[in-house]
């Protein structure tokens, strides 16, 4: 029995020493939360139906993340670029690139139209929306075109963790491995993500994370001022109501995805998935949101 006790003691001591990686290493600071959000309603732009929710989405998201960031003890820096469009978005990313440190979290949110075909009539500069998230480029006076070089550049140089939240048609192809096989450009979403960032479809990344709608849906303002995917995203984070006229949010008393004092990205994904795929709630507007693969997960807020 003495031998047994000795061996067990050695093993358990070794375990404790290894466990101490997290426990003994100095805790990093909570860091700064940067939010760079843009919503484009595509009003008065040829080739697209105008939509009403995108600017609301960006506004509500900025307010919710600002609220939660402060509640979690983080410094928050919010850039709502909807009004300033591409120039403001690019300037905000540039500023984040110069300021963010290893302990910071940057959230990049895009809500807009999406397409998987070349929109020659409106001078879209790319063939797929898989690239839409990565860069918003002004191709003429009014229309934002897209291609993948710009945001890759920013994400490579922004320090800390990056979370990309995408709400537009075909945005699911950013994330899923076998998503949208009917994509006319045959552009694999996972390839899109892995091409841009430090991971691969199989192994994922621990720097850049992504949650994405598959297809964009909105309701009329009368029933809901937010797009379907963004609505569940924010409700999961505790949004009770967003008033589109006063632009004010109301937070609920509890946060549905708060577990053990933390909000973790995969819990948020589960929450959105359960609701947006439920046809009894969404009718024909169901969609299948996507999340990046890999072993790493992201702690959004720790209270």
């Amino acid at each position: 029995m003495k031998k047994i006790a000795l061996v067990l003691s050695v093993i358990l001591t070794a375990c404790l020493l290894l466990v101490s990686c997290e426990l003994v290493t100095e805790k990093p600071s909570k860091g700064t939360l940067y939010v760079v959000a843009i919503g484009d309603n595509f009003v008065n732009q040829p080739g697209f139906n105008p939509i009403t929710s995108c600017e609301n989405d960006a506004d509500a998201l900025c307010q919710v993340f600002d609220y939660l960031g402060k509640k979690a003890g983080m410094e928050t820096v919010i850039y709502n670029c909807s009004a300033g469009r591409f120039e403001a978005f690019e300037a905000a990313l540039e500023e984040v690139r110069s300021r963010a440190t290893d302990n910071d979290l940057t959230v990049i949110f895009v809500s807009t139209h999406g397409s998987n075909t070349i929109k020659e009539t409106v001078s879209y500069s790319t063939e797929t929306d898989a690239k839409a998230l990565f860069y918003l480029e002004k191709t003429d006076e009014s229309v934002m075109g897209v291609y993948d070089a710009g945001l890759k550049n920013y994400c490579s140089y922004i320090k800390g963790k990056i979370l990309i939240l995408a709400d537009f048609c075909f945005s699911g192809s950013l994330v899923a491995q076998d998503y949208f096989t009917y994509n006319s450009a045959n552009y694999s979403g996972a390839s899109a993500l892995s091409l841009l960032f430090d991971g691969t479809p199989a192994t994922g990344s621990n720097k850049v994370f992504a949650l994405s709608a598959s297809t964009y849906y909105e309701y009329s303002w009368a029933s809901n001022p937010l797009s379907t995917y963004t609505k569940y995203l924010l409700k999961g984070l505790g949004l009770e109501n967003y008033d589109p006229f006063t632009k004010q949010i109301t937070m609920s008393s509890g946060i549905p995805v708060l577990h053990g004092g933390r909000i973790i990205l995969s819990d948020l994904y589960k929450y959105i998935y359960a609701r947006s795929t439920n046809s009894s709630i969404e009718g024909s507007h169901t969609q299948t949101p996507q999340m990046n693969t890999g072993a790493n997960d992201l702690i959004l807020f720790s209270f």
């Binding site: 990686c21 199989a202 994904y269 072993a295 702690i299």
Partner: protein, 178 residues
Amino acid sequence: MKRSIVLVLLFLVAIPAFCTVWYSPKAEVGIGAEFYHSSVAPEQIPFRTSFFVETDVIPVNFDSGRIGFGAGISFSFTTRSLAYGHSIIKPYLAFGPVLGFDLHFSRVFTLGFKTRLMFSYMGPAYLDKFASVEVGIVPSFVVVLKNRFNLRILVPLTEVLRKDGFCLRAGVGVGINL
């Protein structure tokens, strides 16, 4: 690969023909800590710590008193890692075949060797799949011995080889032979 499996199975079947062995199915349960090191995603700390529970059910096990061979099924669940900064590792479920080889140094002490081929499903939806190979040594100490039945304390040490890195596992467990 197929040839190797066939040879191992033939070997297991042939053992009773050449020496005195008995059929001794066994089951083992262990808990412990897993230390994951990613080779693709740089971390601020070298290892991420999770906790696991694993079970090996080995219905095909032959033992001669000096050595033993067995084959069975293994199941495990690994929790989310401890948090560090904005980073945490997802939980996963795994199952797969296990092959074992035991060396009995005395009536009390046995050194076991195990190889598993595990198929894992990662949270949150348990849809992301990955495969891993696990090799381990399992020192064990008999604490209750009654005829062929014995109850053992195990100290499993395992290395898990994955596409995205590797894990070291250490823990304690109990096992019974019938």
